[in-house]
């Protein structure tokens, strides 16, 4: 990472870097609203100064690098709202494992970023604390649900931010904001301290401008954790040789049948141009068949709300956050959950509760889990013919604020290219691959076999060595 190297070389000091990041947030975040909470300036500068006073031999790989966290990850002493009124005022008394590792590597966490409430949404408009705006066009959404983290990186407020991806919530905002966003393989990063949405799908992933920096961030936060039993065994280390290996000898799987209906023409043109770039650099291509993504969408909108309805049962006014007064316990539950949860969260709890309720379980939840098996098998077949699958990340560039918020189904369709990845537990990366005539970022998504995080990063890094889309900055934000 360029900034980490300059810090290490002593050409810039951690306090200077933190000052500059806070200044850029002060200058831009009034427009963008990427942050829900910033840590105290004095406290941050003290943290930077402690690093300056420490011997360089003790510096971790991210020493002095400013970072931001999606506000659904616990950091001791900082608020954690999940974008919801129901957690207003809550300050967790512990650190998420990913947060602990990031800090142990020397990163200076400036604050917490905006999100769709409990990570449910694709535009960050479902935040109870107001929407985030896209740094490329303030009239448009940054995507979601990790829209604040994506916008903070795109607007050059921080070089690294963490998000969580349950159905596309890192990749889609990365796509709409023109930055790199990685959803690691399921189990790669501990979810201890990440507020659970859909436990069989959730995964923490990094945003950065370059794939190389995202890879470095992953190497810091990845690895098994005794506090999360779903973590894969084995460390994940950044393999420099693999990252730099280029695309020669790799086969890109292209699901031609998924590139028709609903795909924006400029997205489609950029996708084909990216294929040319990669095949020009020595990659082979193969046409692969994948299931119609509307099946993944359908399975997702049963599995995710079902798990959410169970996970969000804990928000009842007893242990933390909001409590609405009531004469009896049931009344307290009902009124706390009614005023604490926003409309999309209530909607998904309702869908999930219905899908799990007596008489409907087999027809909905069990059926969706069986379809999940079909989706996994579908990818296994595709990966017999290729090393990675390539797709657009989002069917369209960033849309206008307010455009889709009143129609849940049309909002859900934003994630048509990203959902299947979570259902199958694959790693996938989004990188910017061009700009629309209106100046909005376009995106390429690279999907790998389960566990092959290094391979998707390799292809993404090779793509960035061949192109300079990731170097472009939104006007007034460089």
């Amino acid at each position: 990472m360029e900034l980490a190297a300059r810090l290490r070389a002593g050409s810039v000091r951690p306090t200077e870097v933190v000052e500059a990041a806070l200044d850029s947030i002060a200058a831009r975040d009034g427009d963008v609203h990427a942050f829900l909470h910033l840590r105290d300036r004095t406290e941050l500068l003290a943290e930077a100064r402690r690093l300056e006073d420490a011997p360089r031999s003790e510096w971790g790989p991210l020493a002095g690098v400013p970072a931001a966290l999606k506000d659904n990850m616990c950091m001791e002493g900082s608020p954690c709202t999940c974008g919801s009124r129901i957690l207003e005022g809550y300050r967790p008394p512990y650190n998420a494992t990913a947060v602990r590792k990031l800090r142990a590597a020397g990163a200076i966490i400036l604050g917490k970023t905006n999100l769709d409430e409990f990570a449910m949404g694709s535009s960050t408009e479902n935040s109870a604390y107001g929407p985030t705006r896209n740094p490329w066009d303030l009239g448009r959404v940054p995507g979601g649900s990790s829209g604040g983290s994506a916008a903070a990186v795109a607007a050059d407020m921080v070089p690294i931010a963490l998000g969580s991806d349950t159905g596309g919530s890192v990749r889609q905002p990365a796509a709409l904001c023109g930055v790199a966003g990685l959803k690691p393989s399921y189990g790669r990063v501990s979810r201890y301290g990440l507020v659970a949405f859909a436990s069989s799908l959730d995964q923490i992933g990094p945003f950065a401008r370059s794939v190389e920096d995202a890879a470095l961030a992953l190497s810091v936060i990845a690895g098994p954790d005794p506090l999360d039993s779903t973590c894969s065994p084995g460390e994940w280390r950044l393999d420099r040789a693999e990252l730099d290996a280029g695309v020669r000898g790799l086969t890109l799987g292209v699901p031609e049948s998924l590139l028709g209906e609903g795909l924006d023409p400029e997205m489609k043109a950029a996708f084909h141009a990216s294929l040319e770039t990669l095949t020009g650099a020595g990659a082979a291509r193969a046409t692969v068949e994948l299931m119609d993504p509307s099946y993944a969408l359908s399975a997702y909108y049963i599995v995710a709300p079902a798990e959410a309805s169970s996970n969000l049962a804990r928000f009842d006014g007893v242990r933390y956050g909001l409590r609405e007064p009531s004469a009896d316990l049931l009344g307290m539950y009902l009124s706390t959950r009614r005023s604490g949860f926003g409309p999309e969260v209530r909607r998904r709890i309702m869908i999930g509760t219905y899908a799990l309720s007596a008489g409907y379980y087999d027809a909905y939840y069990l059926k969706a889990q069986q379809v999940r098996t079909l989706i996994r098998r579908d990818f296994e077949r595709a990966f017999e013919q290729c090393d990675v699958v390539v797709l657009p990340t989002s069917p369209t560039p960033a849309f206008a604020l307010g455009e889709k918020i009143t129609d849940p189904l049309s909002m859900y369709l934003n994630d048509v290219y990203t959902l299947a990845v979570n259902l199958a537990g694959l790693p996938a990366l989004s990188v910017p691959n061009g700009f629309s005539r209106a100046g909005l970022p376009l995106s390429l998504q690279i999907l790998g076999k389960p566990g092959a995080d290094g391979e998707v990063l390799r292809v993404g890094h090779a793509f960035q060595k061949l192109t300079d889309h990731h170097r472009r900055r939104p006007e007034g934000m460089a």
């Binding site: 300050r91 049963i302 007893v318 933390y320 009614r338 309702m350 309720s357 889990q369 079909l374 537990g425």
Partner: protein, 95 residues
């Protein structure tokens, strides 16, 4: 499967979410449309297909059951809306 207003009220009760009449009608319409969409799963033949309940590690790791340090009661109660004598305090449950 056609949703009814009774279904919506039943589900809301299970989910511990209070509804008023306009909510019931709104959810009836919205959930009806979403469930109508996801009904396309019935087009897929899943006879004999095992469900995927989890991806990734097939076996959960085990460890020795040894006592370890944990957060103090006082710390854990620090976010509670109401507390008394080291416990969460809640409204009356039984008359």
């Amino acid at each position: 499967m056609k949703l009814t207003a009774d279904d919506i009220r039943h589900v809301a009760r299970l989910a511990r979410i209070e509804l008023d009449r306009p909510d019931t009608e709104k959810y009836l319409e919205e959930l009806g449309r979403i469930l109508g969409y996801v009904d396309k799963l019935s087009q897929l033949d899943t006879q004999g297909v095992p469900p995927t309940t989890a991806v990734g590690a097939s076996e959960l790791p085990r460890r020795e059951d040894e006592p370890r340090a944990c957060l103090a009661t006082e710390t854990l109660l620090s976010g509670a809306p109401a507390r008394r004598e080291g416990h969460f305090r809640v409204p009356r449950v039984v008359e």
